[in-house]
């Protein structure tokens, strides 16, 4: 059937655009993280590991030999990871019953419930974040209702806190947890659950020993799908988090705006990419392992 040249030819236009406007620039970021910052943004072409050094450490202004941890950067890094883990857990706790609910509807009504989950997924992330902002601002819906009911005397400060970021991220990323969980439950063999009850398993035992292991691949896929955009979040912390509650994405953006340190921003972006790759590798390895289990 001739060579494979025509296959490459058909793919070439898409690959050219992808390399130019998606993958290629990432290589430039990697290179920039090893250059020196220019005066007005940009870089000067001198090799330097200073940017990577400054991601983790800081030098004393008066005694350059005195090196301490860069606690400001590390705190933001840790906050991003921690908020992303919390978001993933919240999505899992709410997403599991929701996916179960959809999977146990009659086959006729299932598409409707799936559609309900999918709509928010395809509506603009910014609009959904804006909707959350409206709910939790000081004169927003929640505070208005609480004040009116007399439960509180002063509005609760929810906007511009870590709680707001957490709420916003769980809200926008929840469908990403529900859909893979549903996919896993859809394939589940119900007779295994029946067997569990026939053998006098309690509801808790059946849930823990039969259902959870069966939907584990869905949990892993959902966790990755939630964790990756959460660790990369920029819009949600910017709109809901305020100046004090930065995440890694905002710290990166800062280096290309007011901060004007492109190499540092590039190094931080590479760090984010490394976290994502590590998460993906963990995902692929656990999926590979649970596939192996199933074959046994």
């Amino acid at each position: 059937m001739g060579g494979n040249g025509w296959k490459w030819l058909l793919c070439a236009p898409a690959l050219v655009v992808l390399v130019l406007a998606a993958s290629g620039p990432l290589v430039i970021v990697a290179i920039y993280s090893f250059l020196s910052p220019g005066n007005m943004g940009g870089v000067t072409w001198e090799f330097s590991t200073e940017a990577w050094f400054r991601v983790f450490f800081r030098r004393d202004i008066f005694e350059p030999d005195l090196v301490t941890w860069n606690t400001a950067n590390l705190a933001i890094f840790w906050r991003s990871v921690w908020l992303s883990i919390q978001t993933t857990v919240i999505c899992a706790v709410l997403g599991f019953p929701t996916a179960w609910f959809i999977a146990t509807r009659s086959p006729r009504s299932r598409p409707f419930w799936l559609f309900l989950i999918t709509i928010p997924f395809w509506t603009n992330l910014l609009i959904r974040t804006f909707a959350i902002q409206e709910m939790i601002r000081n004169n927003g819906t929640i505070n208005t209702v609480l004040l009116w009911s007399g439960l509180i005397e002063q509005p609760l400060q929810m906007l511009f806190t870590d709680f707001a970021i957490l709420l916003g991220m769980a809200y926008v990323f929840l469908p990403l947890m529900v859909l893979p969980l549903y996919a896993a439950m859809d394939k589940m063999n119900l007779s295994l659950i029946e067997a569990g009850y026939d053998l006098y398993g309690s509801r808790g035992a059946v849930l823990w020993h039969i259902i959870l292991p069966l939907v584990k691949p869905g949990f892993i896929a959902g966790s990755i799908l939630v964790f990756i955009p959460a660790i990369g979040a920029y819009v949600t912390p910017r709109v809901l988090g305020g100046g004090q509650s930065l995440m890694l994405g905002n710290l990166i953006a800062l280096q290309f705006g007011q901060g004007r340190n492109w190499p540092l921003g590039s190094a931080l972006a590479m760090l984010m990419l490394i976290v994502v790759v590590v998460a993906l590798v963990i995902y692929l390895r656990t999926v590979g392992r649970s596939d192996g289990e199933r074959r046994v």
Partner: protein, 269 residues
């Protein structure tokens, strides 16, 4: 264990309640946002009567009109280009057997899905900045290229799914009837791929409309799209005009998503 008669293996106590609560929580903020777009007064949390004044204000706002038109134009162009490129790539990678480099092609196509938008955004900022210095070009080309690349994986998936379900016997029948490969493609394969191609275009369109971070870092002065305009406004004191804009925007997404669902659902039959 007392409910002998009504025992169902799929029932887990409390799950239904959590699920319904989740659905309510998912829609409540959006519903409230829509309701207050019709508010007579300035408040977004105290109802003061029905009015369309914020819609009138939104339509009269020149800047809103400009950024909306730019968003729709960009989404149309980028999704259109991405659909053409993705269709070609699907034909090169689907139903053709495995070949060397296929994994790399998949990795490149799916890469925009894996990398956080902020990383792609600053990467493009750096790249575009150096091209601007070299060429002096500051037009919409950068945004078109960035959005097209970002839309390709989303357009690729439904088109590929469609081609995979096509029966090769149809093309063989065409060949038996002395159709040339080009004729068979033109009159059999391509028309059958149309639902997938349409779905791919719509997905790309919605994704382009949704993209805010990449646009924010790639755009030059005066190239705001509706999302970057909204992002800028959210930091200020906002009026229900923003609710009205968001509601119209939501309506557009809803129409496209519904159409997408209808197209992809009829596919299976």
């Amino acid at each position: 264990m007392s409910e002998r008669g009504a025992f169902s293996v799929t029932r887990i106590p409390g799950f239904g309640l959590i699920a319904i609560t989740t659905f309510v929580l998912l829609y409540l903020p959006i519903v409230i946002l829509v309701i207050f777009s019709f508010n007579e007064g300035l408040s977004q949390s105290v109802w003061e009567g029905f009015s369309l004044r914020w819609y009138e204000a939104a339509f009269a706002n020149r800047q809103v009109r400009d950024v909306s038109i730019r968003s729709l134009w960009l989404a149309g162009v980028a999704a259109g280009l991405a659909t053409v490129l993705a269709t070609l790539a699907v034909l090169g990678t689907t139903r053709v057997g495995r070949f060397r480099g296929q994994t790399m092609i998949y990795a490149l196509i799916n890469q925009p899905l894996m990398v956080p938008e902020i990383v792609t955004g600053i990467a493009l900022l750096i790249f575009v900045a150096s091209i601007k210095v070299q060429t002096g070009y500051t037009g919409m080309g950068y945004l078109v290229a960035a959005h097209t690349a970002f839309c390709i994986p989303f357009a690729y998936l439904p088109i590929r799914a469609r081609l995979e379900t096509l029966d090769p016997a149809l093309e063989m029948a065409a060949a038996d009837l002395y159709a040339s490969p080009v004729q068979a493609f033109r009159h059999i394969t391509l028309p059958l791929m149309v639902p997938g191609i349409l779905a791919g275009f719509m997905l790309g369109f919605v994704i382009s409309l949704d993209t805010v971070v990449i646009t924010e870092f790639v755009k030059s002065a005066g190239q705001d799209t509706l999302p970057t305009y909204m992002l800028g406004q959210l930091r200020r004191t906002i009026t229900p005009e923003m609710n009205a804009i968001a509601t119209l925007f939501l309506l557009l997404s809803l129409v496209i998503v519904t159409a997408f669902f209808l197209i992809t659902r009829t596919r299976g039959r």
